[in-house]
């Protein structure tokens, strides 16, 4: 029991191993500048996809405003470093907390909304955040903020990505996470079994927003520049695509899909317009052949493919 089971130790060693391997490759210059950019994007996309999956895949609330949370994290963190001269760690923390607060605020009024209506409301929320950024001179209006110091280093990125995935995984595999799953599966039954569905819906929004904000802070401090247009609904949509592609309710699916999409985007970089066509065609193909996403709601674990929902051996259908 506890932390020191052999499985946990094995995972820990793999995580540490990856860190030092990549670190060495960076030191030796084997990873090119271009690849570095994509490595950073990969980590940020993993954080975005897993945190959105918590809201959409695990709690069943179709939300389309994740870029809004990312924007809040990016802007608030940047204000703290650039304008207020605070340390990076504090800036990231405050940015994430600000996004989490927005998660509570957006979570509460949208509780009465379901499905399409919730999607539209959250889409609107994302656009409002973007619109606010355009109109606030203090954060540079439409031009955004330039000259942000590059503080997102490989150790920061890697630590934050691992932390996010582990935190979300631990949450889901707890009684609190099961309460979220119950909300997704059947809200009326969940309430009838003593679960405060309001609380858990808002909680999912809050946690998802927190990590979305974290991704924003990391993003801002790698790419020097943030603009309102960086956080348009297209980005929300991109993140949702990763969640759907990986499988709603599969954390490993989100990680794999975030990696795959980052990779595809990088490989197709030179193809300009054609890139969007190939990208779209790939998505359509996946949705035709694997409508449940790459992983469905199963997880990739050490003992190969264990369905998180239980074995699908299918004794007698329903």
């Amino acid at each position: 029991m506890g932390y020191f089971r052999s499985k946990n130790i094995a995972i820990f060693l793999v995580i540490i191993g990856i860190y030092f391997a990549v670190d060495w490759l960076l030191e030796e210059g084997i990873i090119t500048k271009f690849q570095q950019v994509n490595l950073m994007l990969l980590g940020i996309n993993v954080i975005l996809a897993t945190s959105l999956n918590l809201i959409v895949g695990f709690t069943g609330q179709l939300a389309l405003g994740h870029a809004g949370f990312m924007a809040i994290g990016a802007y608030v963190a940047t204000i703290f470093t650039v304008k207020l001269g605070q340390p990076f760690a504090l800036a990231l923390a405050v940015g994430s907390l600000a996004a989490a607060l927005a998660g509570v605020l957006i979570g509460l009024p949208t509780l009465r909304l379901r499905g399409d209506y919730l999607a539209i409301a959250t889409l609107g929320f994302g656009e409002i955040i973007r619109g606010l950024a355009v109109n606030i001179e203090y954060v540079g209006g439409a031009a955004g903020i330039m000259g942000i110091p590059r503080l997102t280093t490989w150790p920061w990125l890697y630590a934050m990505t691992v932390l996010t995935v582990v935190a979300i995984k631990n949450f889901i595999n707890s009684t609190h996470g099961r309460a979220c799953l119950a909300v997704r599966e059947n809200e009326i039954a969940a309430e009838a079994m003593g679960i405060n569905t309001t609380y858990y819906k808002v909680l999912a929004f809050t946690l998802g927003a927190f990590f979305g904000g974290l991704a924003g802070g990391l993003y801002a401090h790698y790419f020097y520049l943030i603009q309102p247009s960086t956080f348009s609904f297209l980005r929300s949509f991109d993140i949702l695509v990763m969640v759907v592609l990986g499988g709603m309710g599969s954390l490993t699916g989100s990680v794999i899909a975030a990696a795959a999409i980052t990779l595809v985007n990088a490989l197709l970089q030179d193809l300009a317009l054609l890139r969007m066509v190939i990208y779209a065609a790939l998505l359509v193909a996946v949705m035709i052949f694997r409508p449940q996403g790459l992983m469905g709601n199963k997880e990739l674990t050490l003992n190969i493919l264990r369905p998180r929902g239980g074995a699908d051996r299918g004794i007698v259908g329903d």
């Binding site: 949450f171 009684t175 099961r178 799953l181 599966e185 679960i195 699908d312 004794i315």
Partner: protein, 261 residues
């Protein structure tokens, strides 16, 4: 004091009085039946008792305290748990998780304990798992523990719903047509099972059943509902011979016969 008491309970959908002026009393340890033809308002009474609907008139008293205005989860936490006429399991989750979810509000570890995997997490998860397995064993569902709930055969799904309701540790169990879709042998087995449940968990039970014979055999006291009103109340012997009950059920048979003809 009665465990549960309703006074003048009333709810209309548009112009349709689904439940009107219903007075029920359920004592500690009683097994009470609620019968009536289809559309009589039985399920609506359950939805009122469990807070899914709010009554337009009247009151619901749980040990003297009003339940009106409470959310369903709060009512469950006070000690009422239910099953649904059209099964509402957490289909994509395992049988074990279905049970564990009902233990949720008894669980005693925080969000932080979960995310940081503090010792409290391991202790309470282990405990919940052990208790869930015990319950599945009692219900003969242990071999399905890791199966998705939606993949269970129909009868087992019904049983799992009862097990899940019990995991919330209620004092009053509300069963909505638990024998629906069962053959006579299965119904007989279910009756024995319900009797045993009441003993084992010292429960009070309110049972909705369309099938008269089952309720007659099982319940000590019966309320008969028609068009949202209580038309008769008493022990099975009286209900069986009550002219208005016979009329209500006869009316239904005639309607069915006409529909079939």
């Amino acid at each position: 004091m009665a465990l549960l008491e309703t006074k003048d309970l009333t709810l209309a959908f548009g112009g349709l009085a689904a439940v009107s002026g219903v007075n029920l009393t359920i004592g500690e340890g009683e097994l009470v039946g609620l019968i009536g033809p289809n559309g009589a308002g039985k399920t609506t009474v359950f939805n009122l008792l469990t807070g899914i609907y709010r009554p337009q008139r009247g009151d619901i008293l749980w040990q003297g305290r009003s339940l009106v205005g409470l959310r369903p989860f709060q009512i469950t936490q006070l000690g009422l748990a239910r099953t649904f006429q059209n099964i509402r399991l957490f289909g994509e989750l395992t049988v074990l998780d279905n049970i564990a979810i009902s233990f949720h509000w008894h669980s005693r570890y925080s969000l932080l304990g979960a995310v940081l995997r503090l010792p409290s997490y391991y202790r309470h998860e282990g405990e919940m798992r052990r208790r869930a397995e015990e319950l599945l064993e009692l219900f003969g569902l242990k071999q399905y523990a890791q199966e998705k709930a939606k993949n269970l055969p129909y009868g087992e799904q019904r049983r799992l719903e009862i097990a899940r309701a019990l995991a919330a540790r209620p004092r009053l169990l509300l069963l909505d047509e638990p024998a629906a879709g069962m053959n006579p042998q299965e119904t007989q087995a279910l009756m024995d099972f319900i009797r045993w449940l009441r003993q084992e968990f010292s429960l009070s039970i309110l049972l909705i059943e369309h099938d008269m014979s089952m309720v007659m055999n099982l319940c000590e006291r019966i309320y008969a509902l028609d068009y949202g009103q209580v038309i008769a109340e008493g022990p099975p012997g009286e209900i069986r011979r009550h002219p208005r009950v016979i009329e209500a059920y006869l009316g239904e048979e005639v309607a069915l016969a006409l529909a079939g003809a």
